[in-house]
């Protein structure tokens, strides 16, 4: 049944369907509505979980680390500065191979302080060893949140579900919340064989010296790379149950013979889908990258076959380098026969609106040439600010 729900409300309902044993969170805009809605579900007796309202994001991440190690399905959510405050723990959770799920309501990072959407937060923790999945709309966010527990528990890797703050979290959309029995079939109860248990006392989080450390890093890299097939399988089975895919590793839309492509992540994908339908611009492919970690190099190359130009859209940047996704896509395509020329721009930083009219501007980027730039920069304002 379709319902009209705010993104955060829908995520709270989806998380509740996954029957988490422990939820820990600390409020931060624009994640707040998620934890508020979960708190209400708990207060109304609609979700039986240990809800731990902690004193910081650092402790939120620490609580779900401990809860997961003790064998409970565990969930948290945050944004922006909160993700940064969690950073040390995020590395720990993945290093200990604990299947935690976290919703990142993507938001810019200060200074200057800015509460609106871009991808600076999840990009800042790009290398923390988590699976990172990006959602184009709230239905994808609901479906991905449920899939996330299955992927996490199958791979023993934590999953960060990235959904754009405000654009998705605070937007009312019609979407389908799956039935409880369907989710129960898809997601069996969590059973963790490294669980902390006095009957089988294990030491978790021990000291590893130079003689074994490289091997632990190799195993972490291998596990994250191998997770790609689990992500695909989890989405396929979800599709067989619901008729909906949440986007696999990536999706490609547009005419097969298009010579130009745009690669993007998150809610701008939905905007561009609309633009492709409505604006009648030049034929182009839209590559929606859902899995940023692991980065699916083979799938990206396959998606780019036949393209002369690829415009990579970043929603964050690495100052002194340029676009982060852009840099990675260039690396992924290097050595590919007939690889497209890659152009990289950043748009929509700190909540700057990305309207449908951005689509033809993106398609125009290859003609303009030049290196990385912020495409929606308004140069006249630079004078005011100096």
């Amino acid at each position: 049944m379709l319902e009209a729900l705010e993104g955060s409300q829908a995520i709270a309902r989806a998380i509740a369907l996954c029957r988490p044993g422990v939820v820990a969170a600390y409020p931060i805009t624009p994640q707040t509505h998620i934890v508020e809605n979960i708190s209400k579900l708990v207060a109304d007796g609609k979700l039986r979980t240990e809800l731990v309202s902690v004193e910081s994001e650092f402790s939120a991440a620490s609580v779900v680390l401990g809860a997961s190690a003790a064998g409970s399905r565990s969930y948290t959510a945050s944004s922006s500065q909160g993700i940064l405050l969690m950073t040390e723990v995020l590395f720990n959770i993945s290093g200990m191979r604990l299947p935690v799920v976290l919703t990142c309501a993507n938001r810019a990072i200060g200074a200057p302080i800015n509460i609106w959407n871009d991808h600076s937060d999840s990009m800042a923790v790009r290398d923390c060893g988590w699976i990172q999945l990006h959602c184009a709309d709230n239905q994808e966010a609901v479906d991905t949140s449920i899939q996330a527990f299955r992927i996490a528990e199958a791979t023993e890797l934590p999953v960060m579900v990235c959904m754009d703050g405000f654009v998705l979290t605070h937007t009312l959309e019609t979407l389908e919340i799956p039935a409880q029995d369907l989710v129960d079939r898809y997601l069996p109860p969590f059973a963790f064989d490294r669980m902390l248990d006095p009957h089988n006392p294990l030491s978790l989080g021990t000291l590893v010296g130079p003689e074994y450390f490289s091997e632990t890093r190799h195993l972490a890299h291998q596990a994250l790379s191998n997770a790609a097939s689990t992500i695909v399988d989890a989405d396929r089975e979800w599709q067989s149950l619901t008729g909906r895919s949440a986007g696999g590793l990536l999706t490609v839309e547009g005419p097969a013979d298009a010579r130009i492509g745009v690669l993007a992540m998150g809610s701008v994908v939905s905007t561009f889908r609309e633009a492709m339908d409505c604006l009648g611009a030049a034929p182009a492919k839209l590559i929606a990258l859902r899995s940023f970690r692991p980065l699916p190099e083979d799938a990206i190359r396959a998606a780019c076959a036949g393209l002369d130009h690829l415009v990579v859209v970043d929603r964050a940047l690495s100052p002194g380098f340029g676009g982060i996704v852009g840099g990675e896509i260039k690396a992924a395509l290097s050595g590919m026969n007939d690889a497209p020329q890659v152009h990289n721009v950043a748009i929509g930083l700190g909540g700057r609106d990305v309207p449908m009219e951005m689509w033809p501007r993106l398609l125009d980027v290859p003609q303009q040439g030049g290196g990385f730039r912020i495409l929606d920069l308004e140069p006249a304002k630079l004078g005011e600010m100096s």
């Binding site: 044993g21 240990e50 731990v52 680390l65 409970s72 006095p198 006392p201 000291l207």
Partner: protein
Amino acid sequence: MTEMNDPRARQPRFRGLEAGHRACQGCGEALAARLVTESAGPDVILTNATGCLEVFTTPWPQSAWRVPWLHSLFENSAAIASGVEAALKAQGRRSKVIAMGGDGGTFDIGFQALSGMLERMHNVLYVCYDNEAYMNTGIQRSGSTPHAARTTTSPPGKERMGKRHLKKDLLSIIAAHHIPYAASASVAYPQDLRRKVRRAMEVDGPTFLLVHSPCPLGWGHDGSETIQVARLAVQTGLFPLVELERGEVASVMPLRHRVPVTEYLGLQGRFRHLFADDDHRAREEREHLQALADYNVERYGLDGDGDDPFDADGADTVRRGGPASS
């Protein structure tokens, strides 16, 4: 037959922390951790802040722990313990959670997580092994380092007489959370320490133990003098042994034979500069430390007389296997 009549005597004592770990000789923290886990028994889950205890017990692939043990970071022992406890509650399991940390991980960097854990009333016993400096990183001053003590970041010199600030009164801050039970203890008084652990284990809610644990390397005394040094800390009044219920003082270990602080200070290299000849600053700091001890005695009413079950003179008598049957 006599053996069969007394099965308790035959039963080996439970050890949560096994021998063979890599602590220094005379390590107060290792002794304290063994006493705490022995008293707590096998049905526990431990969390451990980063520090000496974590390092010397778990060089992978070895572990000295016979009970489940979780280490994550320096500053989150209380928070991961909160998570473990929440999970146990969610699963209907009843094992007790014990969070452990040194004074750096408790007084300083992990203080916020600890306060949060206490405020949320998690059923966790938090044990701080207090050796009064960052020992694992090489003896740097912490919020717990006593006034005037030498550490590598509070060295004495022409302009300084060791740590300029006071030892943080953590127990009073803990008391302000009005948790059911909090206490200070010392490795020099194992019977008292065991009793306090057992007492805390019986409470359904947050409890806190501050265990004074000398570090021979950091304090500059011989490894064979750990107990003597720890006992003098109590007997001088510098480290009072007290119990708090809901934030109110419930009992104290009285001191029948108070010892001047110089006897305690003189045993330790970290206070050697307080005994320099012809240095008026040294005399002033000795007097300052004596005044701090006097303040503790007055504040907690430590001057005791008569027979008292918590008397320091008898409290360190270890009765193995419990009190003798009458």
